[in-house]
Every structure is written in structure tokens, then in C-alpha cells.
């Protein structure tokens, strides 16, 4: 579904992605972990070209990601993204947030889009909040609304960049539950997270990044129980003692 080859990215002098190759199969859930600053977010954002790479290529569902314009917009419509800071559109209701892109990008009718939006909001457990403004919702509810907004485009892939890092601890679970449900339904997912419990439970594969490189990857059980590299062992020792 995703095929990234030889991704290289510099921010000025800073080489943030170094020859990153990543393949994600249809229905696969890949969890990306690694220390802060290792390039996880950047990798995630390069997959839908919110960031451009200086070298390398991303192919989504057999189509090389176009450089710009309408073609790129079309590609992004098929790749859902969930941000750490939710980024719900502040000036419109939760329902309108979910309805906007299906109507404006896919050309769906308002009635149909609203019907499926309400279903999606029910599915993520916030059907009762549909007519409120984002600012009136808790963080966990906002993130679930953001997931519903992305799902409304019936994306082929969902990208999550630390979806629970901005949440109060008691709200992390409700968001992870929604994501686990999605994974179980066969959604193709790339998830950057520090939630190792989620990685163990929901991931098909864990990718460990450090210094802009993929240092190690494997099935969650293998990765957590017997990491092969010192960097990974080090990292796991730090995060798992908390």
C-alpha cells in the first residue's frame, strides 16, 4: 500500500531522514517508535507530502506521489492523517468538520455526507457532540472527532502522529480503543506513538528509528522481548521503566 524508497530529508544542514525505506502492506499496522528527534514525525509527514523530501520516492497504492497541485490533493484525500494537536477546524461544528472534505473534495451531497458523518461520530463514541464546536469538547473527544474526520474520506491508509501525546492520561485509553478497533477492522495504519502497550497489542510490525534511520524492525513480540540492536535495547530500557 505504501512503498517509500531512499527517503532523504534535510532541514538546512540537519539531515533528518537518512535513506529510509518503508513498505506497508494492505491492512498492515506499523507502529513507529524511537527517541525524540529521531525523525518519526518527519517520516510520517513525508508519506503524504506535508513535508517534501530532497531525495527518494513515495508510492501510495501503486501511484507515485505527485509533486504538487490537484494531483497531490487527490492523493492526500486517500491518506488520512491524525495530528498530535487534533487540528479540528475551530470555526465549525464537529459535524461540519467531518462533512467538509467529503462534500468539497469528493463531491458528495450534503445529506449523504451528514448521514455518514453521524454514523462515524457514533462509531467513535461522540455522536452526542456532533453539533458542538471543537473547543467545547475534551481533548479525547476532539481527537476522536479528528479520527472521524479522516475516516469520512474512506482513506486507503491512516497516518497517526502521536495521537495521544497531547491528552490527559485518563483520555488516552478512549482514543487508543478507537485505533485498536480500526486496526481490527483491517485499516492500513502507520502510527507514531510512545504507547508501547498499543504497539504490543495492535501492531503487526514495530519500526524503531534513531537519528533519522530505521535501525531495527520486527514483530512486536520479537522487538520488545529480544531487541537486536544496542540502540533499541537502550531505548526500551528507558521507556519501559516508566
Amino acid at each position: 500500500m505504501i512503498r517509500a524508497r531512499g527517503l532523504n530529508k534535510w532541514f538546512g544542514e540537519h539531515h533528518v531522514l537518512r535513506d529510509v525505506d518503508l513498505d506497508v502492506a494492505r491492512g498492515e499496522v506499523v507502529v513507529v517508535v524511537g527517541p525524540s528527534g529521531s525523525g518519526k514525525s518527519t517520516l510520517c509527514r513525508c508519506l503524504n507530502r506535508l513535508e517534501t523530501v530532497q531525495r527518494g520516492e513515495v508510492v501510495i497504492d501503486g501511484v507515485p506521489a505527485p509533486l504538487e497541485g490537484r494531483e497531490l490533493a487527490k492523493l492526500r484525500a486517500d491518506v488520512g492523517m491524525v495530528f498530535q494537536s487534533f487540528n479540528l477546524f475551530q470555526h465549525m461544528s464537529v459535524l461540519d468538520n467531518v462533512v467538509l472534505a467529503p462534500v468539497k473534495v469528493r463531491g458528495a451531497s450534503r445529506t449523504d455526507a451528514e448521514k455518514s458523518a453521524r454514523e462515524l461520530l457514533e462509531r467513535v463514541g461522540i455522536g452526542a457532540q456532533a453539533d458542538k464546536l471543537p473547543a467545547q469538547l475534551s481533548g479525547g473527544q476532539q481527537q476522536r472527532a479528528a479520527i472521524a474526520r479522516a475516516l469520512a474520506m474512506t482513506p486507503k491508509v491512516m497516518l497517526f502522529d502521536e495521537p495521544t501525546s497531547a491528552l490527559d492520561p485518563e483520555m488516552v485509553g478512549e482514543v487508543l480503543d478507537v485505533m485498536t478497533g480500526l486496526a481490527a477492522d483491517g485499516m492500513t495504519m502507520v502510527v507514531v506513538t510512545h504507547e508501547m502497550g498499543f504497539a504490543r497489542k495492535a501492531a503487526d510490525r514495530v519500526v524503531f528509528m534513531a537519528d533519522g534511520q530505521i535501525v531495527e524492525q520486527g514483530a512486536p513480540a520479537a522487538f520488545f522481548d529480544s531487541p537486536q540492536t544496542d540502540r533499541a535495547r537502550d531505548f526500551l530500557a528507558k521507556v519501559l521503566t516508566h
Binding site: E68, G69, K74, L75, R76, F83, N87, H91, L100, V105
Partner: protein, 214 residues
């Protein structure tokens, strides 16, 4: 006071012209201002440069010079418009530069995440701007836009220079006959103040309503 009453028809006519100038050039300035703002935040470098050049040019020219230049200069190269239309276009073009500057600061105050989320959903640049960024940007700049509108009302008083008989020009003409500058200009000044107050009132109402929605 009686001098105002004696010349009420001319002054009233002048006030109507002032209102026409204000409304028409406001609409023009708003539309152009949004376009220039879109250019200035667009991903295309040429458009950005053009937008910046526009703002820099018109912010650095006196409106009176521009009015006179266009009205008396363009006929030299074969373009001639009636005074009223010329005044509306020139004032709109001029004020658009200031509106664009205010709107851009509004756009900058909208968090980058909003634009990213819009793009990530597959909205084009134009759609993100129109549906997501500008509606939020506008909320933050209601007050400056209101002030610019008041400035626009005042600048319509320059239209007399190209023989548009607006309120100020009408007052000048009445004064030539009657030589009672205090009564005549205090009277017309009050009319300007009343229009400005109305704009200020609408701005205040709008701002209070929009704040609740943020």
C-alpha cells in the same frame, strides 16, 4: 445653522455621493484585498512577489497623487473614465493594499496546523484558504478592518479633486457662495462622524458575536 437648511438639497446630494463612494469602494477593496492576501500566502513565489509589490506600491503613494494621476494621466494614453467610477476604482485599489496587510496578519494568527489538516484532507490551496483559513483569520481582524473602513470613508473626501461632488466638495461649493465655513464644515464633519460611528457600532457587534464562536 440656517445656511445648512438653505442648502440642504445640495448637501444631501453630496452625502449620498459620499455614501455611494464608500460602499462601492469598500466592496472593491474587500474583494481585491482578499485576492492580494491569497497571492501573498500562496505557494507560488511569483504570486507572492506580485502581492508584496502591490502592497508596497500602494502603501507608499499618497491617495491624492494616485487619484489625480489616474484621472488626468490615463486620458493621455487613451483611457478615460467618468470621475465617479475613477474615484471608486482608485480608492478601492488603494485601500485594498491596507486591507490585504490586515488580512495577512489575520492569516498568520491562524495556527499552521489548521492549514495542514485542510491539506491533509485533500483540499486544494484555494479551498483551504476559503473554507478554513480566511473565515478564522477574519475573526481576528474585525477591529482593524473596521478602522480601515473608517479611514476609507474619510479618504472619499479627496474625490473632489477629480470633480466628484461628494459631501466635502458640496460643502466647499456652498461655502464659496455663503462664506460661513464654521457652520458648513462643522455640519458636514458631523455627518462624517455619524457614518464612522455607525461603522464602529457594526464592528463592535460583529466582533462580540465572533468572539463567542472562537
Amino acid at each position: 445653522m440656517s445656511v445648512l437648511l438653505d442648502h440642504l438639497p445640495e448637501l444631501w446630494q453630496g452625502l449620498l455621493v459620499t455614501l455611494q463612494l464608500t460602499v462601492a469602494s469598500f466592496v472593491g477593496a474587500a474583494v481585491l484585498g482578499v485576492l492580494v492576501t491569497a497571492m501573498r500566502v500562496s505557494p507560488v513565489p511569483v504570486l507572492r512577489a506580485l502581492g508584496t509589490a502591490y502592497v508596497e506600491t500602494f502603501q507608499n503613494l499618497p491617495l491624492l497623487v494616485l487619484l489625480v494621476l489616474v484621472f488626468f494621466g490615463l486620458p493621455e494614453i487613451g483611457i478615460k473614465g467618468p470621475p465617479m467610477a475613477t474615484a471608486i476604482v482608485v480608492i478601492a485599489v488603494y485601500q485594498a493594499a491596507y486591507m490585504a496587510e490586515a488580512l495577512r496578519s489575520g492569516v498568520n494568527s491562524v495556527s499552521k496546523g489548521q492549514a495542514e489538516a485542510a491539506r491533509a484532507l485533500g483540499l486544494t490551496f484555494g479551498q483551504s484558504l476559503r473554507l478554513v483559513i480566511l473565515p478564522q483569520a477574519l475573526r481576528t481582524v474585525v477591529q482593524p478592518l473596521g478602522n480601515l473602513t473608517i479611514q476609507l470613508i474619510m479618504s472619499t473626501a479627496l474625490a473632489g479633486a477629480i470633480s466628484v461632488v461628494d459631501l466635502t466638495e458640496a460643502a466647499k461649493r456652498v461655502n464659496l457662495q455663503e462664506a460661513q465655513p464654521i457652520a458648513i464644515f462643522v455640519g458636514s464633519g458631523l455627518a462624517y462622524a455619524a457614518i464612522a460611528a455607525a461603522v464602529g457600532y457594526v464592528t463592535g457587534r460583529l466582533e462580540r458575536r465572533l468572539v463567542i464562536m472562537r
